[in-house]
């Protein structure tokens, strides 16, 4: 065997190994979700699958349905507010040579360096004063604060990659700045903005710490709900797994969507 083939096989072997390590817990979670309580701790793959775990988690006292709704609303509203704002901000950062632009951008990014645990208490006190504890609004506000800088940074990357030539041409052709954004920039940045939206959704959907501290009963989200399966009677692994599946599946679907769009460039053909 020559060197090239050895490398080829070596590469595959490493890829397979890493995939197994990453995928195994997820596979195990999926299996456990369909097991009966008595099988939950067994390593055997020989069990009779059941959907009863899903029925259980959606009924009293777990009421996973409410949490799905909370998570969905919080994540969607966050995306709907964050992405349009971030797109405009990203465009401005990318195109306008304003004094202090770099510093401002650094400030925005620096919010990402602050560990969440450090600011969770101030947020708690603030929302308690405002009477917004245990509400979706509080979660949306917090998530916006966390996610928007990140999305600005991400979308700016996509807009930076679009040549300005087409925009200039549109301005000469008679378009105002807003019209340029609508007709030229948004369509060209669409795959990037979509990718960022999904990223933003995933971040919000998975957010745990703030949701844990700021909610108690009404606004509990899925990741926090997961913890409630650790009871005094022990950890209810099969129920936790079923809830885990409910969290994971939407994200899986979105990841697939992103992948399709990641590969598509929209700027080809604009310039020489």
């Amino acid at each position: 065997m020559n060197r090239k083939r050895i490398y080829w096989w070596g590469e595959r072997a490493v890829l397979v190994l890493v995939s197994c390590i990453v995928l195994f817990p997820i596979l195990w979670m999926f299996l456990t979700a369909f097991k009966r309580p008595k099988d939950a701790y067994s390593l055997s793959l020989d069990f009779s699958p059941t959907l009863s775990n899903f029925v259980t988690v959606f009924s009293d006292p777990w009421n996973l349905g409410d949490m799905v709704l909370n998570s969905a609303i919080v994540a969607s509203v966050t995306v709907l507010i964050a992405v349009p704002c971030a797109s405009l901000a990203a465009y401005s950062f990318s195109r306008f040579r304003v004094r202090g632009r770099k510093f401002l951008f650094f400030l925005i990014l620096s919010t990402q360096f602050i560990p969440a645990v450090v600011i969770v208490l101030p947020f708690f006190l603030m929302f308690r004063t405002l009477g917004l504890l245990d509400t979706r609004i509080a979660l949306i506000v917090v998530n916006l604060a966390i996610v928007t800088p990140f999305v600005i940074w991400m979308i700016k990357g996509f807009i930076d990659a679009i040549p300005t030539d087409s925009e200039e041409a549109a301005m000469i052709d008679g378009a105002s700045r807003l019209r340029v954004i609508k007709d030229i920039v948004l369509p060209m940045a669409a795959p990037g903005i979509l990718t960022s939206s999904i990223f933003c959704f995933i971040l919000t959907w998975n957010e745990f710490l703030f949701a844990l501290i700021l909610t108690r009963r009404d606004a509990v989200t899925l990741p926090v709900g997961l913890v409630s399966f650790r009871t005094e009677r022990g950890d209810l692994w099969e129920l936790m797994s079923a809830a885990g599946v409910m969290i994971t599946v939407p994200i899986f679907i979105m990841a697939l969507l992103i992948q399709k769009h990641f590969t598509r460039g929209m700027t080809a053909g604009a310039v020489k």
């Binding site: 000469i172 008679g174 105002s176 007709d183 060209m188 080809a268 053909g269 604009a270 310039v271 020489k272």
Partner: protein, 351 residues
């Protein structure tokens, strides 16, 4: 339609002076060609007129009105960009029709107008494609069509035909000439192609390092270049420039001795165009040398002679033949122009 005036217009990028105190009046309805080597500031000048580049100092006037701070969209300009600037997500038809769409032209009129314009640039069959599915020359024609689809006050064209094949270039050149005759829109046009400059321009501005060195009709630029730079830049093959001196009413250089009407001085460069020279008997010729190369160009032969390391080129008849290294003579044709320049300053010396 408007007169365009640049008054002491300057453009700096940081410390770098891209355009230096430009003063230029483009008359209403005039076709002005900007000519100059790469990087001399042609595109920058155009972009300032278009409003895409901030003017560092000076004033820009359209029909007497200062427009420095006017947004590009309010200047009523159409522009062909050097690198096209097409809309990659739109079809060719939508690209061409976009300026009309922005002006609220209804769909039916728009479609007709787009079709008509596309025919002019020979793109009629490609209207449904996207820019990424076109060749370079086709993209360039889309950019051209988008500019001429409507009648603006000013046309700005930055090398609009640079990527077309020779035949198409001639066709498009005629198309542009006709369009200008028909509409009479003030036009600023950048090109590296001298034929384009000569055939299209009312006046040519030759630029160098951010300055206009000569602004005149194509004929005058050709027949009376203001300095060595213009002399060597205009004409193909370029003008012969021979270092020498004037003594006793004759220009003297190795292998060259020609009567001139000028006072005696050293450090003179004489310029004479290849087409102003003819082949003569070597014995009595004012210019002589050995044949270095013969190049048949179709309707004529370019003959290059060498004498003591300096070469001189002449345009001879197509059927001219001579062996390499045989000696050969040249003389100015009757009525031909010779040009004298000061070697140090490069300026033209007028008799």
């Amino acid at each position: 339609m408007a007169e365009v005036q640049l008054v002491d217009v300057e453009k700096r990028y940081g410390d770098f002076l891209a355009v230096t105190r430009q003063n230029l009046t483009i008359k209403d309805g005039e076709f002005l060609v900007l000519l100059g080597p790469s990087g001399c500031g042609k595109t920058t000048t155009m972009r300032m007129i278009a409003g895409l580049e901030e003017i560092t100092a000076g004033n820009l006037l359209f029909a007497g009105e200062r427009v420095n701070d006017k947004a590009p969209k309010d200047r009523d300009i159409a522009m062909v960009f050097q690198n096209y600037g097409l809309y990659p997500h739109m079809t060719v038809a939508d690209n061409i029709g976009y300026p009309l769409k922005l002006r609220g032209v209804d769909r039916k009129t728009r479609t007709a107008r787009v079709q008509e314009t596309a025919e002019k640039v020979e793109l009629g069959a490609l209207l449904k494609r996207r820019p990424s599915e076109l060749s370079g020359g086709q993209r360039q024609r889309v950019a051209l069509a988008r500019a001429i689809v409507r009648t603006p006050k000013i046309f700005l064209m930055d090398e609009p035909l640079s990527n077309l094949d020779a035949k198409l270039r001639v066709t498009m050149r005629a198309e542009l000439k006709h369009l200008h005759h028909e509409l009479g829109v003030t036009t600023v046009y950048v090109t590296h192609d001298q034929m384009e400059a000569m055939t299209l321009a009312h006046r040519v501005a030759v630029m160098r390092e951010g300055r206009i060195v000569q602004l005149d009709t194509p004929k005058n630029i050709y027949s009376e270049p203001a300095d060595l730079f213009v002399a060597s830049f205009i004409g193909s093959p370029p003008m012969n420039l021979i270092d020498g001196r004037i003594s006793g009413g004759r220009f003297e250089a190795p292998g060259v001795s020609l009567p001139v009407e000028a006072t005696d001085r050293d450090k003179v460069v004489m310029g004479i165009r290849p087409e102003d020279l003819e082949l003569t008997d070597p014995a009595s010729a004012p210019i002589s040398g050995r044949v270095y190369a013969l190049e048949l160009t179709g309707d004529s032969t370019l003959v290059t002679l060498r004498e003591q390391g300096s070469s001189i080129c002449a345009r001879g008849p197509a059927d001219f033949e001579a062996a390499i290294n045989t000696s050969c003579g040249l003389a100015p044709k009757p009525g031909a122009r010779t040009h004298l320049f000061d070697k140090d300053s490069g300026q033209r010396i007028d008799a």
